[in-house]
């Protein structure tokens, strides 16, 4: 990892990863709607088209099934496409190519091809964009063998995970929470990767473990600070990879803290917290648990437009504080 460390925004870090990848490997190119002169709906690709040209930063017609599928086909044929869904919600139009083709092709063909395609998936609520532009659908893809799914909480990981995804021989979905695009953080220069499949303990604690990803890592850390003032000591794990989940890191933490909370923005039912809960409940850590496994997930509703309701639909820091307080104090 480079020594030279600067502050960069999350979206700047993503953009830098794309630039580094394109510089290092002529097979890498970008496809997506309005990623060229417009710079992307969230200005993530920015000026890359001017730097790398229209052949490598390709504005795609509004055709998600075709666009994603073309990326898959190009990957099988030796290219390294990075396809941006303008909002991850629109992957609902391309499930066929992602799930039936990209994810399964290597297996179905007896291991004779690889499908090194990357899908970038801006996700999450909080922007007032309502039900069809605010979903957190990580769980759908986490359920699909053949795919890998990553989701960074910091600019540093955003760059490192994306570079790892682009270099990975298999299809990787890279979720990016839209509310994180503007946060800033240290980002090493040049090339480095953050390993896929490894969670990170972002805060050590002894009273309870919180597992979260992306924006929920920040909310969990905030909640932990509040609770620290009350003498409650929370350990926060940043999942970083949704598939495959780093079970070992979570088990180790739960054995120490004896309490587990899963905090996630996606719909609670069958969301990523369900899997984490189940992984622990079936593991050797079960015997260490001193309390039920808490899940704080998104509401069982579409994301509403009203800002009041929108906030109510996903766990907020206060909810996490209250939930953890209860988890730790409720039973000793």
């Amino acid at each position: 990892m480079s020594e030279n460390v600067r502050e960069l925004s999350f979206s700047g870090a993503v953009q830098e990863a794309l630039a580094v990848a394109m510089e290092n490997d002529p097979r890498v190119f970008l496809m997506g709607e309005d990623i060229g002169v417009y710079g992307g709906a969230f200005q993530v690709t920015g000026d890359l088209v001017h730097r790398f040209g229209e052949d490598r930063v390709m504005d795609t017609p509004i055709s998600e099934l075709g666009g994603a599928g073309v990326a898959v086909g190009a990957a099988v044929a030796g290219a390294r496409p990075v396809y941006e869904f303008q909002f991850s919600d629109f992957a609902s139009l391309a499930m066929e190519q992602i799930v039936n083709q990209a994810a399964k092709m290597r297996f179905m063909l007896g291991g004779k091809v690889s499908v090194p395609v990357v899908f970038r998936m801006p996700c999450g609520s909080g922007t007032g964009a309502a039900a069809q532009h605010s979903q957190s659908l990580e769980a759908w893809f986490g359920h699909v063998p053949g795919l890998k799914v990553v989701e960074a909480a910091t600019p540093e990981d955003a760059k490192g995970l994306l570079l790892a995804a682009i270099e990975d021989p298999d299809p990787v979905l890279v979720f990016e929470h839209k509310l994180l695009y503007k946060i800033k953080g240290h980002v090493p220069e040049g090339h480095y990767t953050t390993p896929i499949g490894k969670a990170l303990v972002r805060r050590q604690g002894k009273d309870a473990t919180v597992v979260a990803a992306a924006i929920m890592v920040h909310k969990a850390l905030e909640a932990a600070e509040v609770l620290a003032g009350e003498g409650i000591d929370i350990e926060v794990i940043d999942l970083r990879t949704i598939r495959p989940i780093d079970t070992a890191t979570i088990i180790e933490s739960v054995k120490k803290t004896t309490r587990l909370a899963c905090v996630y923005e996606g719909v609670k039912t069958l969301g990523i917290g369900a899997e984490i809960s189940a992984l622990i409940a079936e593991s050797e850590a079960f015997d260490y648990l001193d309390a039920p496994i808490m899940r704080l997930g998104g509401a069982e509703s579409p994301i509403p437009y009203s800002p009041i309701l929108e906030k109510a639909a996903v766990p907020q820091t206060d909810d996490i504080v209250a939930g953890l307080r209860n988890l730790v104090k409720g039973r000793i």
Binding site: A41, I62, E64, F90, A130, H133, A299, S306, I308, L309
Partner: protein
């Protein structure tokens, strides 16, 4: 403006083009009023956005009012429309009241969607408006399905599907138009070709110059009209409705038009020139329609001013109504997710 050529006086009734001959002065005045209402609603919505009263994003159709109103003029509350992310015009064209629209924008219980939908999902099922859509092309199968329901119940209503030039490259376009054609459904596909899907010009996104060319792939008529002429739009619509009602199936109408505002609030207009935008501002459909109405002697200058003043009042009243609206209770979040157990 194609309509310019029809500057005949209203007395020469039989020489008027069909749009003017077949609508009463009251209807034409109402059409003008709705066009102004769309325009002023959007300008006020934009202002509200800048003032931080609304949330999220919004897509303004300023410059495209003729297609929305020209199409909807022929429809009753029993006819359906599906709209798009750029749907305020369709909504007002179909008869929505701006006060409930503002209330929706401000996230209030009084809004058309009780504050749950916002600009991108605004709808008014009572007037047959099945809603804007956040998914480009999302309304294409829905309108086709509404037309199937109409056919099954045997009424003479129609379904209209508004969509953009960008949407014409979605698979949903292909599948929907094919199904409608094979089953001869009473649906009218109205492509508002404003030349860009977000930043990408039709030339860069679409293999054919005119979207209407694609109608041939579904064995249906494809009609190109000046989308900034309400008369052109409406006459094409009338023919399409007749076809639909006679059981002859769908029509594709392409309205060539332009949005003079950016795609949405985040647009920096890097993909088109100032000159292009200015030249289209000169083709503004509203003053063109006003001029024509006056030239034909259908409305007087005073009538036109009366229309504008009335619209101004509606906008101000609607805005005031909405700002005084009720915020949803967080505890009501789950309301409306399901029909059963829904406490209304």
């Amino acid at each position: 403006m194609a309509a310019k050529s029809a500057t005949k006086s209203v007395e020469q009734g039989r020489n008027l083009r069909p749009f003017y001959a077949n609508h009463t002065p009251e209807q034409l005045k109402e059409a003008l009023r709705r066009m102004w209402l769309v325009r002023r609603f959007e300008e006020m919505a934009e202002e509200s956005y800048i003032r931080g009263l609304t949330h999220g994003t919004m897509h303004l159709s300023i410059g495209q009012e003729a297609s929305a109103v020209g199409i909807c003029l022929e429809l009753t509350d029993k006819d359906y429309i599906t709209s798009t992310h750029r749907g305020h015009g369709h909504c007002i064209g179909k008869g929505a009241e701006v006060k409930y629209m503002f209330a929706e924008f401000f996230g209030k219980e009084e809004g058309y969607c009780r504050g749950r939908g916002g600009s991108m999902h605004i709808a008014d099922p009572a007037t047959g408006n099945l809603g804007a859509n956040g998914i480009v092309g999302g309304g294409l199968p829905l309108a086709t399905g509404a037309a199937l329901a109409i056919k099954k119940r045997g009424s003479k209503d129609v379904a209209v599907c508004f969509f953009g030039d960008g949407a014409n490259n979605e698979g949903a376009f292909h599948e929907s138009l094919n199904i409608a054609a094979v089953w001869k459904l009473p649906v009218i596909y109205v492509c508002e070709n404003n030349q860009y899907g977000m930043s990408v010009s039709t030339e860069r996104s679409t293999a054919v110059k005119d979207v209407a060319t694609r109608a041939a792939a579904y064995n249906m008529p494809g009609v190109i009209v000046d989308g900034n002429s309400i008369a052109d739009v409406n006459e094409a619509m009338t023919a399409a409705m007749e076809r639909a009602r006679n059981g002859e199936g769908p029509t594709l109408i392409e309205c060539k038009t332009y949005r003079t505002r950016g795609h949405s609030r985040s647009d920096r207009n890097r993909y088109r020139s100032k000159e292009e935008i200015e030249s289209w501002k000169g083709k503004d459909p509203i003053p063109a329609f006003e001029d024509e109405l006056m030239a034909l002697g259908i409305l007087t200058q005073a009538d036109v001013e009366g229309v504008r003043a009335g619209v101004e009042k509606d906008i101000q009243d609607g805005f005031d109504f909405a700002t005084k609206g009720t915020n949803p209770e967080p505890s009501s979040l789950l309301r409306g997710v399901y029909t059963t157990g829904d406490a209304a």
